[in-house]
Symmetry: C2
Subunit: 293 residues, 2 copies
Amino acid sequence: MKILDGKKLAIELKEEIEQEVKQIISKGGKPPHLAAILVGNDGASETYVASKVKSCKQVGFESSMLRFDEDITEKELLETVHKLNKDTKVDGFIVQLPLPKHINENKIIEAIAPEKDVDGFHPVNVGRMLIGLPAFISATPAGIMEMLKRYNIDTQGKHCVVVGRSNIVGKPMSILMAQKNEFANATVTMCHSRTKNMAEITRTADILIVALGSAEFIKADMVKKGAVVIDVGITRVKSDKTKSGWKLKGDVDFDEVAPKCSYITPVPGGVGPLTIVSLLRNTLLASEKKIYK
Amino acid sequence: MKILDGKKLAIELKEEIEQEVKQIISKGGKPPHLAAILVGNDGASETYVASKVKSCKQVGFESSMLRFDEDITEKELLETVHKLNKDTKVDGFIVQLPLPKHINENKIIEAIAPEKDVDGFHPVNVGRMLIGLPAFISATPAGIMEMLKRYNIDTQGKHCVVVGRSNIVGKPMSILMAQKNEFANATVTMCHSRTKNMAEITRTADILIVALGSAEFIKADMVKKGAVVIDVGITRVKSDKTKSGWKLKGDVDFDEVAPKCSYITPVPGGVGPLTIVSLLRNTLLASEKKIYK
């Protein structure tokens, strides 16, 4: 059994991005610039955005954070989006979700110019991803695809089972793994809360990608011997073994499942660290105009 | 075994649309207007467009056909698209594919205003379909979903196997069948040319949707007893039993497979007749501004 070490891979990928930025600057170009819109004071959102800003610094990007109070109107937020769309100093930007309930998230996302939508949430990017055209692909699926590629995991003709059907992980993941290209070409099954005989299906997976958000849902008897297991879940559960009284758990019961796998991602330190790298990569692509010419 | 009679269903659905058009007109509204762009003299394309125009007449739509020679430039075609985008008399329009090789099809499709893209090929519509937002859904998947609904086929928690991964059938079909709603909620497996053990997988299907374009590919031993079988394929093969010397075959070996099924679509007369109805339905929705408000 080998660990798919997302933490280590993220460091390598960040170094590659840093080198590319240095090259751009040495040729007289300007560093990529990511902007982030943060509304309200949600603790988790603040942490995520801070971490994204910090990563920008690490790789030599410029970044800016636009903070707004919880009571910003939808109209004001739309105006901010329009302003960033036109701002030639900003290559890509994100609106940290969730937004307050009085704001229509889809409306905000659809207002973002697709060529600056480095989160890959705009329907144009989702549609281009499905069709197989160049697109900004959302962070988690992009990170997983990169991980499989860098670890040389053979996906051709393999049976990939995706557990979960969210718009930002399950659905795009199922499409990306089935695409006709050398790093995909898998037969893909997408399972979800309404699936019957879940264990029967997961047991047939050569590659099992779990994004359900249910701590330790996948047990050893649900996994085939030699499977590659990718755990996207991250849930905070009570623990008397840590100082904080909390522990992060994935959707996979790691201790039980790991011995059966050929490869497995730990939680934390698996898929998580790659998501920010995907965002940085998308911002770099945006600044180089490699997706939308 | 029951036949899923697409021909009969198409007549019913067209009558429903005709009634809706009459109501619109009785309330002082104008009939929906579909425009079709046809480039060159491809025989099949001419037949398809003629058939679409004829169907428009049947249900009381207005229609117009814009014909261009094979040597129209990409720029001229783009200008035509822009003109139709702005033409308030036209509710929806299609560009009949394939286009001549010197024209970039994706560029033309992406130039169509999403709110007039009644073929549902624009990335915005594809993306909105995946996300689960209101969207124009392409004709074949929309027709199949309508057929399953009208025949009251239970899809909840069933295993649906989609054979084929095209952008206009396989991929959208696999997403639509997995969506969280009362007419979907299936566990979905998408197979394709690179799938190993195809028969092993198709045999687990409660609902088998085949869109491979390979005549009589699915044999009896690839189908579970009691399965619902939807055949999207249509291939012209030589025959000494018909006057013309040709016969239309589906992707399913009907004679072998039908006795094992609970429901099956014939070819012709199955999915085919529903595709034009989907186009009419999308045009009606466009004229009523029900997808994009």
